[in-house]
Symmetry: C2
Subunit: 340 residues, 2 copies
């Protein structure tokens, strides 16, 4: 995996912040727009289906720069309401203006939970709400609030389905670069940091050849029916080694579907698909496993908002591995991670 | 230049933050420690000069994980005081402990301006205070406070010299990727964002072959004598084209020197030196220049903390270019940038 180390602000005597945003206010929008797996999937789902959008009332939850709202207007929507709490919406207003769509798109700054749309119901809700590991700092809660309050009984959601997949990977080199590094830092023992680094899932790109098991769906969301409480979940999993190899980590990614389209449109953020800015999420195990093709790793993954901070995710993975031959020890671990 | 787009948090309906730190609290420390141009320069400046550190009292301003304090202890310092306002200092305490240096290193959480050291004076101040473009969110103000309050008259500063250099670059492809992109975003005009993007210096790596002028020192700081007010500066510059080429941007970087060392140690964050996490800083011009080898670009660069937010930097660049032949138009611009 590329060693594009991640950054944080917890450094320095004064606020010597290395937030990327501290030197690029537009970078995230540039990155999301240039993520064409993401943006073209939305564009095609919307603009290839004018028969679904023509003369419809659309709500764009978390409209950002307004790109999805403009796709909907181009697809023939009667009117689009874009809602975003961020200051970006002031730019979105200017963008909609220069693109001469102000008469068909109304942008509202505020929290979905607090604002009042000028309409009772909408026919379609579009939203790009997904976060890392699908649920980390995602806007799904907000989309569900919008759905329950505004979506007409026969209304449509774009997208309307999301799945999280789990597999395992061989990752010796990068694991030692990310975890082992702290054992000897220029001759000093940094193990007090190592144990915290271990608890933190790593968001990064993984080469498909690192995956050495099949994958298992650990969450399958139908956005039309899912409830907020379903987003805290516990799922058993069983994955099977596809070759003789070592396992150093579990790997998670998500897939998205727009099933309301004439021809269903899907995209994956997994290692077998093109790069997206969501990358994948790596959970390093403490023990390394020596697996043979056909052997199982069985376990349970639990994910819930952290106590006291609902923007953080607590993810626990308990697994057991029983090798076929007695010359390899059975392995089982109960691992706890936090995305924060 | 690699298109590693920068990220910000100004996105989404709920706090869908893409701060890198939102998924790596240790990444910045990992990145800084793994920046071996940085870390090995400090290590060598300190540990190759035990004759300067033996039995001395040292203050480490912004000690972070404590690595510099530990270098000083290893170099024979009698006692090291490490000060940092961030929570990281709790980890530093544990790290110093496991490395059995607690008797020689005292770590204090707080603002340099507010805390009281248990000593009247220190013999040496070490600090890694540099930010992007040297001064952006840097800790230099704080180092100067520490110097004026605690450094003995004949005391030493590590480092004790910093320079900012300015040159020009050819950067057509990346300029169109970063600036031109906003002209046509999936068929929409995003020019309202383009004009803001232009005002923001880009922190990124630049290939040495892109540099097509000589460089000019625009700031030269002697840390023993510099005053806080000197950090708001205005400097004339004159740079000379080294080949027939096009100029798309000005480029700034900084160089650091530890001149107190037996053998002075220097490192550069410029395009002609190895990668550092500070990269370089790019200021895109609005007009592109057609220059011939030997022709001058003359101007003035002004840098000061932004009104109302001293963590932001206002940087103005005014320049004039007079080509030798009349068939090329003279060009002059007054450009304003903000690092925020």
């Amino acid at each position: 995996m590329p060693g594009n180390t991640k950054k944080s602000a917890d450094s320095g005597l004064t606020a010597k912040d290395y937030y990327f945003d501290s030197y690029s206010h537009w970078g995230i929008h540039e990155e999301m727009l240039k993520d064409d797996v993401r943006t073209l999937s939305y564009r095609d789902a919307i603009m290839q289906n004018p028969h679904l959008f023509r003369d419809k009332i659309v709500l764009d939850v978390g409209c950002g720069t307004g790109i999805l709202s403009m796709f909907c207007a181009r697809a023939g929507a009667k009117h689009v309401y874009g809602v975003d709490m961020s200051e970006i919406i002031h730019k979105a207003v200017q963008i909609v203006e220069v693109n001469k769509l102000s008469d068909r798109i109304t942008l509202i700054q505020g929290k979905m939970e607090e604002i009042q749309l000028p309409v009772e119901k909408v026919d379609i809700i579009v939203s790009e709400w997904m976060g890392y590991f699908l649920l980390y700092e995602s806007m799904l809660d907000t989309v569900l609030v919008a759905r329950d309050r505004y979506l007409a009984p026969d209304g449509l959601l774009f997208p309307d389905r999301a799945q999280i997949q789990l597999a395992a990977i061989e990752d010796a080199d990068y694991k030692s670069e990310k975890i082992g590094f702290w054992d000897d830092v220029y001759g000093f023992d940094f193990s007090p940091i190592k144990k915290d680094v271990w608890k933190e899932p790593l968001v990064d790109t993984v080469d498909r050849i690192a995956v050495n098991t099949n994958s298992c769906v650990i969450l399958d969301l139908d956005l039309k029916t899912v409830k907020k409480e379903d987003l805290a979940f516990s799922s058993p999993f069983e994955i099977t080694a596809t070759r003789n190899d070592f396992v150093h980590a579990f790997l998670a990614w998500f897939d998205i579907e727009f099933s309301a389209c004439h021809k269903p449109i899907k995209f994956s953020t997994g290692p077998f698909s093109r790069y997206t800015h969501w990358k994948q999420t790596v959970f390093y195990t403490h023990k390394d496993l020596t697996v043979k093709a056909g052997e199982y790793i069985r376990g349970t993954i639990t994910c819930k908002p952290a106590e006291g901070n609902h923007r953080e995710l607590d993810i626990d993975i308990s697994y057991t591995f029983n090798p076929r031959e007695p010359n390899r020890e059975p392995v089982s671990e109960d691992l706890s991670y936090r995305m924060c």
